[in-house]
Amino acid sequence: MGTRTESPGYTLAVGKQGTELILTLAGRVSLGSADALLAELDAHLDDPAVTTVTVDLAGISYMDSAGVLTLIRLEEHGSRRGRVQRYLHVPPEVRKVMDLIDRGELSKPPLHGDEEPGGVVDAMGNAAQRIAADFIGIMAFLGDLLAALLHAIRHPRDVRWGDVLFAMRRTGTEGLPIVALISLLIGLIIAFMSSLQLKQFGANIYVASLVALAIVRELGPIMTAILVAGRSASAYAAEIGGMMVNDEVDALVTMGFDPIRFLAVPKLIGTVLVLPVLTLYADLFGILGGMIVGVTGLDLTPYTYLEASRRIISVYYLVSSLVKAVVFAFIVAWIGCQRGFQVRGGVEAVGAATTSAVVTSILLIVVADSAFAIVLHYLDKT
């Protein structure tokens, strides 16, 4: 940030006649010299015998509003001690600025008090209230969304399929490169780390099983969901939030469209259709990453590696992984859109909604994944 300094361009002469203090001010008085001037003037007012202060402004060449304010503040300081302040030879320019300043308004207290920091208990109570209200908001939106989805299933012609395809392209096609790269590297890392241990026991072939199992059952679905949450939940929240700020959502309502059916349902359908496919890709690339380590570092042939992987992956694992992907996709679209519709006020609320969309959807994805881990384990046993 640039700084401007202004040299004090004023001169102050002080004289005294009985109980009257005469301050003769000349030159330039402006913002930069206001503090110095006030301190200097105050210093001359210590004498309790003074009852009248006369300020002579004959020599003033320039005085800005900050300069005039300094004189008014001096007046206030003086009036607290019962002094009267008079002005002599006020230049017309300065007189106009003085007239522009309403002294009564200056001492008006703020309509909002300064925010007082509450105690710990207050803060905890507020936080609890906020979380509860947030939870209710999310759940109420879930109800609206399910009702809109039901309507879409009953009346498929009402769905804006063009927007569904657009959401699929943005989330799926455009997300594929980053999903592929991350999955490949994750597969590679798991294979490399586990091979260091398993090699010692000559159990090289089990690297393939370990990677395939970890990727298909857990890491594929959850890594993809987290990436999509980062890319798409944020995009949905920002898009809808921006529309809220610009009254576009209100415009939809006045034209007779239900904003949830119009905006959220296509995103939901698009995400739910595309995330399982992305998850399959992630599984494939993860196994490929493991194979790179297996073939180059563990003397396995591609055939044996893939065969070992195939043997460990059951149809049950694959289907449960796709079911997870559908649920995660639902969470991403649900939270992304809800955070967007929640935006009130200005643009800064859009930024907050975007962040919150990513954080909340990742949180819910992990919670859902924990539930899946337990439920799938018992389903597998039966």
């Binding site: 522009l100 309403d102 308004e105 207290p109």
Partner: protein, 263 residues
């Protein structure tokens, strides 16, 4: 200084001068070879229909856009050729009120107004607070320093933006559509406020607007731009323009002649 109030045209000394300014966006020429002067202490209004380039002209005058050709002089310094340091010095002497108030939503009104003060050395927090209260009182917003912009009405936000624009006592104030989005009562209040600040602080003002009532009420001089001519088609005091307006485009603008005929 002008003791007579609103009917003066300043001292005749040019504080802003635009010389042969040409503005282009890509291949589209918006303004061609425009020259004008703004005199000390006057209120100059730039009018014209939508898309005539009046906001573009304003953005060139405050250095946000670089002209394809020509010069813009503020206080005798060419801001097109100025280096960063010179430009910063000039920017300290001008204030701009944007069409959307451009108040920062994450700061209170008081913090918004105090922001330009933080760039000046040696101002104590007490003094900064007193200056903020004074400027807010000048725009009839005394007591609102702890409000956030979202808690204020459109008219109040506009006035808050004005308080921020004039916190450093700028020599020149630029306004982009100061009455846009305001109801007639608020627009009239804005008009009174602009006139009071011009008369009280002697601030030179350049106002871009298509609000005819406001312009005729406050302008010392009016310049009309036209999109097809890409330049100035009329210039003069409100009285001169009203009396001798021959150009049909100007008559349509000032007297809404077409609209009446249609009605």
């Amino acid at each position: 200084m002008n003791p007579g109030g609103s009917a003066v045209n300043g001292t005749g000394e040019a504080v802003v001068a635009v010389e042969g300014l040409t503005a282009r966006f890509g291949d589209t020429t918006v303004l061609e070879e425009i020259s004008l002067e703004v005199h000390r202490g006057e209120i100059l209004c730039i009018i014209g229909g939508s898309g005539c380039g009046k906001s573009t002209l304003l953005k060139h005058m405050i250095g946000l856009l670089r002209p394809a050709a020509g010069r813009v002089l503020i206080g005798g310094t060419d801001i097109v050729a100025a280096d960063d340091e010179q430009l910063n010095r000039i920017r300290g002497k001008i204030g701009v009120l944007f069409q959307s108030d451009a108040l920062f939503g994450s700061m209170t009104l008081g913090e918004n107004v105090a922001l330009p003060l933080s760039a000046v050395d040696g101002i104590s927090p007490e003094t900064a607070g007193a200056i903020v209260r004074m400027k807010l009182a000048m725009v009839n917003l005394a007591g609102y320093e702890n409000h956030y912009p979202a808690e204020l009405s459109g008219g109040m936000r506009k006035r808050g933006g004005l308080a921020r624009a004039m916190v450093l006592d700028p020599k020149i104030l630029f306004f982009d559509e100061p009455s846009a989005g305001l109801d007639p009562v608020n627009a009239a209040e804005q008009e009174v406020l602009i006139r009071a600040i011009n008369a009280g602080l002697g601030t030179t003002m350049v106002i871009v607007s298509h609000h005819v009532e406001l312009v005729l009420g406050i302008a010392h001089r009016i310049i009309m731009l036209d999109g097809r001519e890409k330049g100035i088609i009329a210039m003069g005091t409100p009285e001169e323009l009203r009396r001798s307006a021959k150009d049909p485009r100007l008559r349509r603008f000032l007297f809404k002649e077409d609209a009446r005929r249609m009605g």
